[in-house]
């Protein structure tokens, strides 16, 4: 078939997209790194300073929040996914749960924070209802704006995200494998130990990494819940680079951002590796 687009024209066609990505994604990314490695005389390398001293606690706080909300999200999200498969015969249940999961997983920061303030804040509806049955969470020191409060809010999108990752993986567990294992004499627990769990592990691990990256980058929710959010890395970055003002320490802000990119990149890379392995076995 005669090509009416020559070689050169063909590559020209990708130019707009490539240029766009370069200007609005790659160049800003490079700028962040350039500024982060920009060291004024007499000061320490911003990249190093960003992860030592007082800023170290920001990273630890952010990562703790991400890992814990992801770990809990992994357990509960997996439980939901398994429950969906167990109750596969209930008509419509799977569609409703998977459908709402895709809504909840994308739930935007501000409205979600509002919802949890309304439910579990000091004047929250659930807080009040729990009090009626003698569970005084405020009395226990629970605050929606503190660490565990934010974890609770993050769970709202972490749980469904894990569910969405795991349901297709469970679908991919061929019934034939379970039957083959049985025919070879395996008990249920042996099946899970030797067959099902190993096959699911890449998906589960990959899902976990995705959840961590998701929580780590989150900003709006913590912002809307305020106080507890100020220790998070994204909020710290904002503090350094507010609007168009240039504080004396702006390089630190960029360093924090650069570290965020590095950490997120590692998490996403890990996720890709896991997903590819899981896909290979889906044949």
């Amino acid at each position: 078939m005669a090509s009416s687009l020559g070689q050169r024209t063909r590559h020209l066609a990708f130019l707009p997209y490539a240029v766009f990505l370069f200007i609005f994604l790659i160049w800003p990314g490079l700028y962040v790194f350039r500024q982060a490695l920009n060291q004024s005389a007499g000061e320490r390398n911003p990249m190093i300073e960003a992860v030592t001293g007082q800023y170290r606690s920001s990273f630890i706080f952010s990562l703790q929040l991400s890992f814990i909300s992801s770990a809990i999200g992994l357990v509960i999200g997996s439980a939901v996914a398994i429950a969906i498969m167990q109750l596969a015969d209930v008509r419509g249940l799977r569609n409703i749960l998977v459908g709402y999961s895709s809504v909840a997983a994308n739930m935007g920061g501000i409205p979600l924070a509002f919802a949890f303030l309304a439910a579990f804040g000091m004047q929250g509806l659930a807080t009040r209802l729990l009090k009626e049955i003698n569970i005084d969470i405020i009395g226990w020191g629970f605050k929606i704006s503190d660490f565990w409060g934010i974890v609770l809010v993050y769970l709202y999108f972490q749980i469904p995200l894990m569910t969405l990752v795991l349901v297709p993986a469970l679908d991919g567990l061929r019934r034939t494998w379970a039957e083959a294992a049985q025919s070879l004499g395996a008990t249920v627990s042996q099946y899970w130990r030797f067959i099902a769990l190993p096959i699911l592990t890449p998906a589960i691990l990959g899902g976990f990494l995705l959840l961590v990256a998701n929580a780590f980058a989150a900003y709006a929710t913590a912002y809307a819940l305020s106080s507890g959010g100020s220790k998070l890395v994204p909020v710290q970055i904002r503090f350094f680079l507010q609007g168009e003002t240039i504080t004396g320490k702006s390089n630190l802000g960029y360093a924090l951002a650069a570290w965020m990119v590095i950490i997120t990149a590692m998490l996403v890379a890990g996720f890709q590796v896991m997903t590819r392995r899981a896909e290979r076995w889906r044949q």
């Binding site: 990505l21 501000i110 509806l125 994204p234």
Partner: protein
């Protein structure tokens, strides 16, 4: 097995409760003019009113921010389509290597969190092209980048489901130019993908806070954040509407997504 089913229902029940309670709480707070402390079994159905919502609607800040968000959403959807559809179509037709490269590049936005993206963007153009930062429409390319992983996958699915080569060959052999082919042959055949991608773009724009906040643009999510202090019931009411609208968009995307993949 009995026990297994019971536990399954228990899990589903508890999680469903967790999903639903905050939404109910938010609705109640927005639309019932009774403070939580004064709530009792007796007055649970009293003083419900949609007034807070309309109070918000009349606020000029709401109207300007809603208008801005809508315009940004439409612009983002358009720019996404114009950028992606021709490029990906040609990649599908000519160069599997390009196709994979584009796929790889579409996952890059995941790697750069919004906060990093916006500070890099602001820093880059502050001196050179300040108009990009001053104008609200400077947000659009950043939004296109943010939505890229999702919009790319949708269009990829749509194009993959077609026999693109045959379609284009047929169209070209009948004498149509590339532009015509793109608009009148390819686009209509990936209608579902285009619609889904647009819905996704809308959802992203209507929920995006970080970038708008740092660039001090008054979009709807920002309005919500500020209105919370001033008029909490009104803000929550608008928040509910936003959630409902986003839900509808996502639900439509899912429905269409099944069509696309079929």
């Amino acid at each position: 097995m009995r026990l297994g089913r019971f536990i399954a229902w228990l899990v589903v029940g508890v999680v469903a409760l967790f999903y639903v309670v905050p939404m109910i709480a938010m609705t109640r707070f927005a639309f019932q003019r009774i403070p939580v402390i004064k709530l009792s079994l007796g007055n649970v159905f009293d003083k419900w009113t949609v007034a807070p919502l309309f109070e918000s609607f009349t606020e000029s800040e709401f109207r300007s921010s809603a208008t801005l968000s809508l315009m940004l959403a439409v612009a983002t959807a358009l720019l996404t389509l114009v950028l992606l559809v021709p490029t990906m179509a040609i990649a599908h037709l000519r160069s599997p290597r390009m196709r994979r490269l584009i796929e790889l590049s579409a996952t890059l936005p995941f790697v750069v969190p919004a906060i990093a993206l916006v500070v890099g963007f602001a820093g880059t153009f502050r001196e050179t092209l300040p108009i990009l930062i001053r104008s609200s429409f400077g947000l659009v390319p950043l939004y296109v980048v943010t939505a890229l992983p999702f919009t790319h996958r949708t269009i990829e699915n749509g194009l993959a489901a077609l026999d693109l080569r045959t379609l284009v060959n047929a169209s070209r052999s009948l004498g149509a130019s590339w532009t015509r082919t793109m608009i009148f042959v390819i686009a209509p055949n990936i209608r579902a993908s285009i619609a889904t991608a647009s819905f996704l773009a809308f959802t992203v724009v209507l929920g995006e806070f970080t970038i708008a906040s740092l660039l001090l643009k008054n979009t709807l999510p920002l309005y919500l954040a500020y209105a919370q202090g001033r008029n909490p019931q009104g803000a929550f009411a608008v928040g509910i509407v936003l959630i409902i609208v986003s839900t509808i968009f996502v639900a439509l995307s899912n429905r269409l997504g099944k069509v696309v993949r079929a």
